[in-house]
Amino acid sequence: MGELVIGIDLGTTNSVVATVQGGVPTVIPNRSGYRITPSVVAMARNGKRLVGALARRQAVTNAERTVVAVKRLMGRRWTSKALQDTLARMPYTVVQGPHEDVRIVLGETQYSPPEISAMVLTELRLDAEAFFGEPVSKAVITCPAYFNDAQRNATKDAGRIAGLDVIRIINEPTSAALAYGFGRPQVEKQVAVFDLGGGTFDFTVLHMFKGVFEVEATGGDSLLGGEDFDSCIIDWLAEPFFTKHGIDLRKDKMSLQRLRDAAEKAKCELSNQKSVEINLPFISATQKTGPLHLQSSLTREQLESLTAELIARCLRVCEQVLGEAKVHAGALGEVLLVGGQTRMPKIQEAVKSLFGRDPSKAVNPDEAVALGAAIQGAMLLHEEQEMLLLDVTPHSLGIAIAGGFFQKIIPKNTTVPTSAHHVFTTVKDDQPSAKITVLQGESDLADDNELLGEFMLTGLRAAPRGTVDIDVIFDISADGIVSVSALDVQTGARQSITVTASSGLTEEEIQKAASANEDWMLGQKEDPEFQARKTKAEELFREFEVLWPKLTRAAQNGLGDDPLQRAQAALSVARLQVAQKESQGLAASIDRLERMLGALKGALDRGLGQEGR
């Protein structure tokens, strides 16, 4: 088998890993057999690291130690307004990091967002390795089209920590279009990607032409997703219960977790059937009435009515993006549905009514992005005919100017590579230098936008204000690298900066995290035979521990100390063998401990050493 490469859709809520096998893009199921892995990481109360479905299942009951939607924190600065808006919705603790970045508090340890994301990626890597039966190191990872440089770098760093060589970061809608375009090389179409995932909604318009994928416009609502649909069902279930029994199930963690699980299940089932029964026995109890059960029936029509506003919000975003791209909805050649929530029939109807055509069924909504990434990975690795992926700037770029305002130099949705410049001037007489603060965002106020970097242009000639011309030039390369230079037009003095957006981690921190992750992985890869022996030995340890007080008494009453001392020695040896992973030695110790346990139990059963006998 040649070098392996995987494509990863690292989603806000769920992640998928795929590969191309024998020329066919294929999703890799996880080790539990599911094709989707929740992007959730938790530190359970017993100290166990949980990733995926298990972490998600305890997300409500262990909310403060469960990290959901870490993608929203990737590459964010602590001072960023977007971050502060996001933090209000996070149930776990986020603190300021040492480099003006953010850190997530999990138990006693603080983790950077890339480290948490790396835990999800590690899980996917292990799934892939279990699938292939050999190590995997190369990956293409997707990110939203609106991710800035820092967010993309953070994603790359997460990959590195997970032990992956991230050979490319590609935009999610582009990836979905790649999956759609696979096997259709000659197709020329303007395609819209309607991506309604678990936590975010993105809408993108692309132009596909003979292997060239050009993003023309993108937009979205980062706080709208499938979980909001679940919440509507939860409210619908909880409110009548509250009215009837005076108990708000949403305020009890266990009840809420059950409601959330049931709501999601009901929502999924309603995509295929007209009504579902929701039964949650023993969901609560009162002193007066005893156990309380929640039993309800939800129809598809009711769900559609409950979520009508959410669907309308999606459509408003689409209209806005189409307006910005100056594209008429009816002119689109295809609408691709991405994200599990788009399986909802009402959403498909709404899309049809907006675009005047049925959405494409050519791609699997859950898998298209990962499959596209796998296709891109295979092309890069095997030097097949590479498709050209042209992106746009998802945000406007510019600099801060006097008065605290923001001057855009490159507007959003400009296809990269691109270059633009703007001439500024001094604001004070004999001003010796000018500070160039590079920002991205859409607000007219500098403070509301994201800081990318800053530098000083010094050595300006002494002159009255407004007479020194400073030409600020922005360049964005095909790789999305932003370079900014400032030139004193009269003297030719020039200063420049390449915006090397940091994920928030230093190189040393990345190396350290990668090494810690590798150690953790080694622990996970214990040989199954040893694992079975370890489990058996631990059972025996428990049995001995339970029996020990009786044995101690028995020792004082005739059994004697010798059997206990021998058992103690055997237990110590076995414990050491577990710690040192000595599989063969442990097998022998297990036999010995079993024999000893049988003999000691027999002695106790015969009443040997019992008081008064």
Partner: protein, 295 residues
């Protein structure tokens, strides 16, 4: 129900009575259990504990009454006290009225810590009972009569509890000890001995339950149809734990995802297994029940 099941039920019933102070009923249940499985040490040990407690707490009058020859004049075991028919109505003890009644600690509001108690999770249906002193209803009211002991100050009371806890730990009755220790810790949250013993009891109880569950890697699954769950007697926490059991998650994972204390999760799982509500994959109910009786 097979012999094993009956034995287990009797053991549980006895423990429930024991915890609630109904010593004679406990003795009766454990005696029956003992006769079913004479080699079982647990039944024998429990029986002896109950009898010791009866003797320790009997007032002179009661002791005198109980020391009369039994109606049938038989003793089932050499160390068993003469069994008498309890009086049909409680006999008021004049001595008891003159001393301050040491109130029985109120029933714990949290989960019952005894591994074989009904607890709040999976309950063995119990008759409702009143715990007020002087309750004259019930043939066995002798065991709920006020125990005439000296009045004690609150701090001394914790000392009494602590002595009781030590005794119970000595008897391997960690659940009974835990109940007392919980009360002590409520009053004296920084008492190092109480905290240490509390932890020890929790640890031991957890181990006891886990030894009954078997391998922590086993994946339990529902053993009854989903629509029959409603007919069980569960509390919301047990309902929650049960809702997480799908045949795909292991016991160890259940500890992680349930978010309860390990002891509480272990107890609920143990009782669900024992009630036959769940079973372990690859292990039929009989095997599971045998596992319950191991120890």
């Amino acid at each position: 129900m097979g012999e094993g099941g009956k034995f287990s039920t009797l053991l549980l019933e006895g423990l429930d009575h024991y915890r609630k102070g109904r010593m004679m009923e406990a003795v009766r249940a454990w005696e029956e259990a003992y006769l079913l499985e004479p080699t079982n040490l647990r039944a024998r040990e429990f029986l002896r504990s109950a009898l010791e407690r009866i003797h320790a707490h009997m007032t002179p009058n009661t002791r005198a009454r109980e020391e009369k020859p039994a109606v049938d004049g038989t003793r089932k075991h050499p160390w068993l006290p003469p069994v008498t028919q309890p009086p049909s109505r409680p006999v008021a003890d004049p001595a008891a009225a003159t001393v301050v009644q040491k109130k029985r600690p109120p029933p714990a509001t949290g989960p019952a810590p005894n591994p074989w108690d009904e607890g709040p999770s999976v309950a063995i249906p119990q008759k409702e009972e009143k715990n007020e002193p002087g309750d004259s209803v019930g043939a066995w009211s002798i065991h709920r009569e006020p125990m005439p002991i000296e009045a004690v100050a609150p701090d001394d009371e914790t000392e009494v509890w602590m002595r009781g806890a030590r005794e119970l730990v000595g008897l391997n009755d960690f659940s009974g000890a835990l109940e007392l220790l919980t009360k002590i810790v409520e009053r004296k949250p920084n008492d190092p001995e109480a905290l240490q013993m509390h932890e020890l009891c929790e640890h031991n109880l957890t181990l006891m339950y886990e030894s009954k569950l078997g391998s922590m890697g086993s994946r339990p699954r529902m053993a009854i149809p989903a629509d029959e769950v409603i007919w069980l007697n569960l509390d919301p926490r047990a309902g929650f734990v049960l809702a997480q059991i799908d045949g795909e998650v292991s016991f160890e994972d259940l500890y992680a995802i349930c978010g309860l204390k390990r002891l509480d999760t272990a107890r609920i799982l143990c009782q669900l297994l024992e009630e036959g509500v769940v079973q372990v994959q690859g292990q039929d109910r009989a095997v599971a029940k045998r596992a319950m009786h191991r120890s």
